[in-house]
Amino acid sequence: MKWLIYLYPKRWRERYGDEFTEVLKQMKFSFKTVFDLFQGVVDAWDMELRERDIYGYRISQILVVVTIINAFIVINSILGKEGVVMEQIASIIVLIAMASLFLAICTFVVSLFKFGIKEGFSLKTKLTKVSIGLMGVYALTIGAFLIVINY
């Protein structure tokens, strides 16, 4: 169960990590405890995101970096680099795309459960914003993938 602590935000781990690990050591494994820990992870991330005012910038920075990487891959593909390498790159970007889509759906579902349907769809919650950011990563990577495999 101890590995679950790595799902918590870094700042939270630095503050409570040691004592939390001590508590976990004294507990018996049960699915109820694991479920409670996952709830704790969502709660801790929610608190963390509420406190990060610059989070909107961070998502946009991630999108810029992903766009640059994708543009680089697409240019290489158009310029006709070696086939095997491009196939490997295509496999990696499709994995990134799928992981982004999965995370986007998870964050969106968590947001809907946590804040309700009306607020979850309203784009006011940070979890929904994160979900949209991840959707953006998905769209960019899947776009790059389609270009790479078609060249």
């Binding site: 040691d18 939390f20 405890t33 479920f35 820990l37 996952f38 704790g40 801790a44």
Partner: protein, 100 residues
């Protein structure tokens, strides 16, 4: 500071610390013993971090990895207010049920 409405686990933690300083696991044990409610570690530390941020509890300096927590003065005032609120609700319920 805005008076947040805390969840039930947070109140149990405050009541546990009103008796004596306790570390995380000891709080869990006390809550289980007193109310027969088993708090999970995720719920416990979620509530602890909220209470600490609100300034109602604070960690006591310790060499041990298990940090004990204590109730702050603000925490005592908040807990007293909450108990009075709960008492009002209980009294009203008892009255309307004809139990008093």
């Amino acid at each position: 500071m805005a008076k947040n409405k805390f969840s039930e686990p947070a109140l149990f933690i405050l009541i546990s610390l009103a008796e004596q300083n306790r570390h995380g696991y000891a709080i869990m044990e006390d809550i289980e013993k007193s109310y027969d409610i088993k708090l999970g570690p995720g719920t416990l530390y979620g509530a602890i971090s909220r209470l600490e941020k609100a300034g109602y509890i604070s960690a006591v300096e310790s060499q041990d990895r298990k940090k004990p927590y204590k109730l702050t003065e603000e925490g005592q005032i908040y807990l007293a207010e909450q108990i009075k609120e709960i008492q009002k609700v209980t009294n009203m319920g008892m009255k309307r049920l004809g139990l008093v």
